[in-house]
Structure formats: structure tokens, C-alpha cells
């Protein structure tokens, strides 16, 4: 079967907004496939028996199965096949690093470009919305068991959705006033429209999950009290939201932001629509973003859209070591973000309390470090300045102790992340955890995978079966 077809080496390209135009609006960059393009792309799939792509998917979507439906033009059947495993397909189709997951293992990738699995997933998900009525899966009869889920990021949404389908009564408690975690406060509108996040969250609530906002667990309520008062199990999916700073002089000047603050003001609080929305955000003319990951790129591209004339991405290693997705680096280059590689800020300078520039050192790459990447080392006497009026620190985040410090019995690792066993259970029986608060900053789909795994274990526990050893 497979041999007969002539292999189409290259994938169907996806239309995108023109870089010159898009860099001054917040509309989505990627336009998605239409049905015809999607069917043509799906047609490239070999329907491999061994399904190597599925092994690369943390939530085990039946990839060849859904692609086959797309091939046949039946997008409703395609989305049903995806949603059997993944409640957030329109989100995943947009932000998952497929090149490191399913697409990395795709047979076609060995000779040409892998099937554009993510784009097809997005097509199917968006088509369902266009068709109107969302189809709901079968929901098991009520079990009478109650589960509380802390946080509403992808780990929590997945865990909650899966448990609700199994008939449990699930309540999500979220600290902020909106659901989605990083999906809503971190990732910008032009990569992931908030309407899409809301739509997929609504789907989870349609499965029966209740969401309560303004609930800072550890302050507003204590998890121990919830478990003592009627909840049978708990899941902690609070992410890793504590922003790092560099600890260099001048970092608390006006005009220096953590990426979390910069993006939260812009995305969650809609400061890009100020003064229609009340939350202000400084609009720099020359913006320096420090870091090399997705978060740094999102900040840099947000700065462009907020009217900056020049945006610099200041990274201490070189392009090869950037942890950001290749596609996003490409987008940022197209939009005019200027990369300053092998550059380490040492002092942030200011005048009248406001940033005016950064003093930096040039770096060169030395021996590989623990991460396997070559360690950047400063070049002596290489000081130079970058003039800028805004600095965004996107150098990483870590575990926020706000909740965990109220639970002394909860076992944490050295860096403050929650320790769990192979099924996601913490040191406190009946309390599970997953996502960034366990692994450190990772990806949407890995957080979802952890939520799914914990949901399975919670279900087994609630159904009265002993935990597998």
C-alpha cells in the first residue's frame, strides 16, 4: 500500500500575515489551512502501521486516525478522534513544538518534511467551531466523588476534563480572574487568540467542570481544609510563575519589567488597548529583551506591536543554543527583531529614575556545561553599551512558594518543585500534582500529559482500586 504512492517531499505551506503588516497588529500571525490545503497535506500521510508519530505525542492522540478523516474531508470525524485524547486541540495545534514531538518521529521527516500534524489539528479544531455546535463526548454517570484542582493552566484543565468525563464532580480554583494560566496571561494574542483559549475552556466546563476565580489557594483557602471538608482528592497545577531577575545594578529602575509582568499587562489586562482598558504599560521606542526562549521572543514581538522602533533580543549564547522554537525565531527575524548574540548585560543605566541603556559584555563559547550547550564566558575588556528605554527580563521562572509553603508535609525538591511518584501522586496521599510545578518550565502538551496521567491515578483511587505499585 504505502509504497505505491509517490512521496510528496514538501509540506503544503501555511498562509501567514505579511510581516510588515502584522508587526503592528495583534491579529494572529498564522492563518491556518483551508479544507483544500488540509486535505492535500493529509494526503501525504503514509498511515504507518507502527505509528511513530503517536509515540511522540504526550497525550497519545490517534494521529494517523484523525489525519485519515481529514484526508477524506470529514473534519467533524477528525476532531472527534482528536478530542478523544486532547481537550485543547485548537491551542495545541497553535503552540505545541510539534517539531520536537509527533513531527520529529514522522516517517516522512527522514526524506523530506514531516506531515504538518499541528496544522491539521488546528484545521480540524477551528472547523468544528465554524460548524457551530461543539460535540460532547459521553460523560459517565455521577460517582459522587469530589475533586479539587488548583490552577487553571493546561495541566489542570486536562486533569479536570478527564475526571469530569469519568463522572467525578470537579472544581477548579484559580488565583487570577480568568482561566488558562500561561495560555491567557503569557502567550500573546498574535500567537494564540484569547477567544480560542476561552472556547476550549468553555468546552471543559461543558464537560461539567466548575471554575471559581479569585481563589489564591494557600491564602484564600487552604488545600488541607478543602480535603478535610468534602473533597476526596486534589490536583496541584499551579505552574512555575516566579520570575527571575539578573541581580544586577539598576534592575529596579522604572522601565525594567519581568517578562511575566510585561506579558500579563499586555495579554491578561489588555494594556495594548489602553486607555480603553485601564491597565497601563510603558511603550518603549528602543526595547531590549534579555533571554533566548519563547518567552523572550513573545516579549520582543509584543514590544514591536506596541510601537517600538527598534527591538533587541539580548542573549548570552548564540543562535544555535536558543531554546525558542525555530518557527518563532523565523517569525521574529521577519518582523525585524534584532538579535544581539553572545551578549551579557552587567548594569542597567538610568537617568531620573528611568532606564536609558544597558552596559554589556561580549561573550564567547567555551566548554559544554551540564545542559550540553557550550558555556558562554565573558571576553575581557569587551564592555559596550546598548541604548534603550525599556528592558524586559525573560531569563526564566521558578516555583512560586506561596502555596507550597503552607503545606509543610508536601515534599519538594531542592529547587522548590513538588516531588511526585510515577503516577503523579505527591508525598501527601490523595494529593497529586503535574505541569510546570513538578517539571519546571516545560511545554503546554507536557503539562497536559501530566494532568492526564494524574487524572487516571485519581480515578483509580476514587474507584476504590489500589494504586499500582
Amino acid at each position: 500500500m504505502e509504497k505505491k504512492k509517490t512521496l510528496k517531499k514538501e509540506r503544503i505551506p501555511m498562509r501567514e500575515q505579511d510581516p510588515q503588516e502584522r508587526k503592528s497588529n495583534f491579529d494572529e500571525v498564522a492563518c491556518g489551512y483551508n479544507l483544500e490545503e488540509g486535505m492535500a497535506e493529509a494526503d501525504r500521510c503514509l498511515e504507518c502501521k507502527k505509528q511513530p508519530c503517536v509515540a511522540g505525542c504526550p497525550v497519545e492522540v490517534d494521529i494517523p486516525g484523525f489525519i485519515k478523516r481529514v484526508k477524506e474531508g470529514d473534519l467533524r470525524a477528525a476532531i472527534m478522534a482528536i478530542k478523544d485524547k486532547n481537550d485543547l486541540p485548537a491551542i495545541c495545534g497553535r503552540v505545541c513544538p510539534q517539531e520536537d514531538q509527533c513531527e520529529k518521529f514522522c516517517t516522512l521527516g527522514k526524506k523530506g518534511s514531516p506531515v504538518a500534524i499541528g496544522r491539521l489539528e488546528r484545521l480540524a479544531a477551528d472547523a468544528e467551531v465554524a460548524m457551530g455546535e461543539l460535540s460532547l463526548p459521553e460523560i459517565a454517570p455521577p460517582t459522587g466523588k469530589k475533586v479539587v484542582v488548583i490552577g487553571s493552566g493546561p495541566a489542570s484543565l486536562t486533569c479536570a476534563g478527564d475526571l469530569a468525563r469519568l463522572g467525578h464532580e470537579v472544581t477548579i480554583l484559580e488565583a487570577l480572574h480568568a482561566p488558562g494560566g500561561v495560555l491567557v496571561y503569557g502567550i500573546p494574542e498574535f500567537r494564540l487568540p484569547k477567544a480560542i483559549v476561552n472556547r476550549e475552556v468553555e468546552y471543559v466546563t461543558r464537560l461539567g467542570v466548575k471554575i471559581q476565580y479569585d481563589q489564591v489557594v494557600g491564602r484564600t483557602v487552604r488545600l488541607q481544609d478543602l480535603l478535610a471538608n468534602g473533597y476526596d482528592a486534589g490536583f496541584i497545577g499551579i505552574g512555575a510563575g516566579l520570575p527571575w531577575f539578573m541581580d544586577i545594578p539598576g534592575e529596579n529602575l522604572n522601565g525594567v519589567y519581568s517578562a511575566n509582568e510585561y506579558l500579563t499587562r499586555s495579554n491578561l489586562m489588555k494594556a495594548y488597548l489602553f486607555p480603553e482598558y485601564d491597565t497601563p504599560l510603558k511603550r518603549g521606542q528602543r526595547v531590549a529583551v534579555v533571554g533566548g526562549g519563547n518567552v523572550a521572543l513573545d516579549s520582543a514581538r509584543t514590544a514591536l506591536r506596541l510601537g517600538a522602533e527598534e527591538v533587541f533580543l539580548v542573549y548570552r549564547r548564540s543562535r544555535d543554543e536558543m531554546p525558542a522554537r525555530a518557527e518563532e525565531i523565523h517569525h521574529a527575524v521577519e518582523e525585524g527583531v534584532q538579535f544581539k548574540f553572545l551578549t551579557l548585560p552587567t548594569i542597567i543605566e538610568g537617568k531620573d529614575g528611568m532606564v536609558t541603556g544597558m552596559e554589556c559584555l561580549r561573550m564567547e563559547l567555551g566548554e559544554p556545561d551540564e545542559s550540553g550547550r557550550r558555556r558562554p564566558v565573558p571576553v575581557e575588556h569587551s564592555e559596550f553599551k546598548i541604548a534603550c528605554d525599556l528592558v524586559v527580563m525573560a531569563i526564566g521562572t521558578s516555583a512560586n512558594p506561596l502555596l507550597t509553603c503552607t503545606m509543610p508535609e508536601l515534599k519538594l525538591n531542592r529547587r522548590g518543585y513538588i516531588e511526585v511518584d510515577e503516577v503523579g501522586e505527591t508525598s501527601i496521599p490523595g494529593i497529586y500534582a503535574g505541569g510546570d510545578i513538578v517539571t519546571g518550565s516545560a511545554t503546554v502538551i507536557e503539562a497536559m500529559g501530566a494532568g492526564k496521567k494524574a487524572a487516571r491515578a485519581i480515578h483509580r483511587r476514587l474507584a476504590g482500586e489500589d494504586k499500582e505499585l
Binding site: 480572574h177 489564591v216 484564600t220 483557602v221 500579563t264 489602553f274 497601563p280 506561596l402
Partner: protein, 278 residues
């Protein structure tokens, strides 16, 4: 969830008080903590101290001064209106122990933040001698309440229209020169807390202040609230709001409080001219 206003009072020309139904916050509140409010869908998130609460009746009491768009909009709401979001109790509670003689110094709307702390200190057996002040008699709030929770109460006004004429920091200095104190607690405008700390420094009296840095989430996630204490960056929303006044970098705080002056002026103007979104 909704947070209806169940009582409203105008305390002075620019200062208002609201009782808001928020049973969960009332149940857990401790002196020194605050809440973050969002009035409506397009509103910003901003903090107000819990000036009082009743766990039994499920309400919290907020006292605020109109200084910009959010506080202006809040002052226009009436009993029965609902706030979109109220999150709390946030921040570390005030340490309440038996210290001996505590001088509680409050300025302007800061008196509201001071009140529950003074009450708890008194109830714990401290001698609480309070000094409160305002620009003039009309602007002085919670005089009666402070009197009830203080061993003695001194009042200062800039114009002498009530109590003695002068600044609270003068009265504080006199007390320290005289009988001295085991702890000074100063809450008010940043500039008042800065000078109160400068007054206590030579006397080596432990001095606690409550920092009102700009906040966003209030959970340690953004760093907008960062202040420098002992030369170290701290997040006031989770590590504060109370810090040792003699270790705070006051100029940094004052600078950061002014970060959005221009934008705030635009917002306030828009709100006052009545074109704000419902």
C-alpha cells in the same frame, strides 16, 4: 462569584469607606493584610488594605482615597453595586506579639490600615499610644475607632484645625525623646513613612512600615511590586507589605510609585469626563 457593596460612607471630601460582601476573605483575614480589587471588566487590579472585617457576617471594610481612575470609579459605586473581583486576604499578616510600648503612627488614609493592627496589639496587652494626623480636621478619619483601640491618642493637623498643629513625625520624635518605645509602627503616604523612619533611626527603635508599591497579581508572579530592603529586592505583595522602615530604599519606592504618572493622568481625565466604559 460577585462582591456586592452593602454599605457606603463618605468619610471626607476624598475618602470613602465601603463594606463589601466577601465571606471567604473575611473568614481568613488577619491584621496587616490586603485585598486586590477589579471593579469591572476593563478595570485594573489594585490593592486596598483590609481596614476591618467580620467573619460572622461575611464582609470586609475598605477605606480609600480618590487619587485616580480606579479609586474615582469605586467612589461612584453605590450600595447594591457589585465588584467584579476581590481577591484576598493577601500579604503576610502583621506580627502581633507583646512588645511593651508601641507607638502607632498613622497619616491620612493610612490610618485605616493602622487601625486593625493597633487593635490587635492592644488586645495582646501592649500599651498602644497612637499618633494620627491629616492636613486638616475635615480630612481626619477613624478618630473615634483609633481612640477605642489606643491607650492614648494624639492628633496632629498641618493647619492646627484639630489637635496640635504640625506633622505626626514631630510628635513621634517628642515621644521617642521622652518615654521612648519598644516598637514604632508607621503607616501612611510613602513620604510620611520615610520621614518617620528617619526620625526613629537615631533612637534605634524597631520601626515597621507598610509599603504601598504598585501591584498587579498580588501572588508573586510579576514583580511589579518590587522594593529594596537591606539592599535586596523583595516582592512587597508576598514578602510584605510590612518591612523594617530603616532598611527600605525610600527613593526607589517613591520613584516606582511615579512610574505611570502620565498614563494615570490620561485615565483619570477620561474617568472624570465621564466617557468611561460601563
Amino acid at each position: 462569584m460577585s462582591y456586592p457593596i452593602i454599605f457606603k460612607e463618605q468619610m471626607s471630601e476624598q475618602v470613602f469607606a465601603l463594606r463589601v460582601r466577601a465571606p471567604q476573605i473575611a473568614a481568613g483575614a488577619l491584621p496587616g493584610q490586603f485585598a486586590i480589587l477589579r471593579i469591572n471588566e476593563g478595570g485594573e487590579r489594585f490593592p486596598l488594605t483590609l481596614a476591618d472585617w467580620s467573619a460572622g457576617e461575611g464582609w470586609i471594610f475598605l477605606v480609600f482615597q480618590v487619587v485616580g481612575k480606579s479609586t474615582f470609579t469605586l467612589s461612584k459605586l453605590q450600595v447594591g453595586d457589585e465588584l467584579k473581583d476581590v481577591v484576598g486576604p493577601l500579604g503576610l499578616p502583621s506580627e502581633i506579639e507583646k512588645y511593651g510600648r508601641v507607638l502607632c503612627v498613622g497619616g491620612g488614609v493610612g490610618i485605616a490600615a493602622l487601625y486593625p493592627i493597633a487593635r490587635a496589639l492592644k488586645a495582646t496587652g501592649n500599651r498602644v499610644d497612637s499618633i494620627i494626623g491629616a492636613r486638616s480636621q475635615e480630612l481626619l478619619i477613624l478618630e473615634k475607632e483609633m481612640e477605642d483601640v489606643s491607650t492614648s491618642l494624639a492628633i496632629m493637623t498641618d493647619d492646627g484645625s484639630k489637635g496640635a498643629k504640625g506633622l505626626v513625625t514631630w510628635a513621634l520624635e517628642e515621644e521617642l525623646k521622652g518615654e521612648g518605645a519598644d516598637l514604632v509602627l508607621a503607616i501612611g503616604p510613602a513620604i510620611m513613612m520615610k520621614f518617620a523612619s528617619a526620625v526613629t533611626a537615631p533612637f534605634k527603635v524597631p520601626t515597621r512600615v507598610s509599603l504601598n508599591s504598585i501591584m498587579l497579581d498580588g501572588t508573586g508572579m510579576c514583580g511589579t511590586c518590587r522594593v529594596e530592603v537591606c539592599g535586596k529586592t523583595r516582592f512587597a505583595c508576598v514578602e510584605g507589605p510590612e518591612f523594617d522602615g530603616n532598611e527600605v530604599d525610600w527613593n526607589l519606592l517613591l520613584n516606582r510609585l511615579g512610574q505611570y504618572k502620565q498614563e494615570e493622568a490620561v485615565s483619570y481625565e477620561q474617568a472624570r469626563s465621564g466617557c468611561c466604559r460601563e
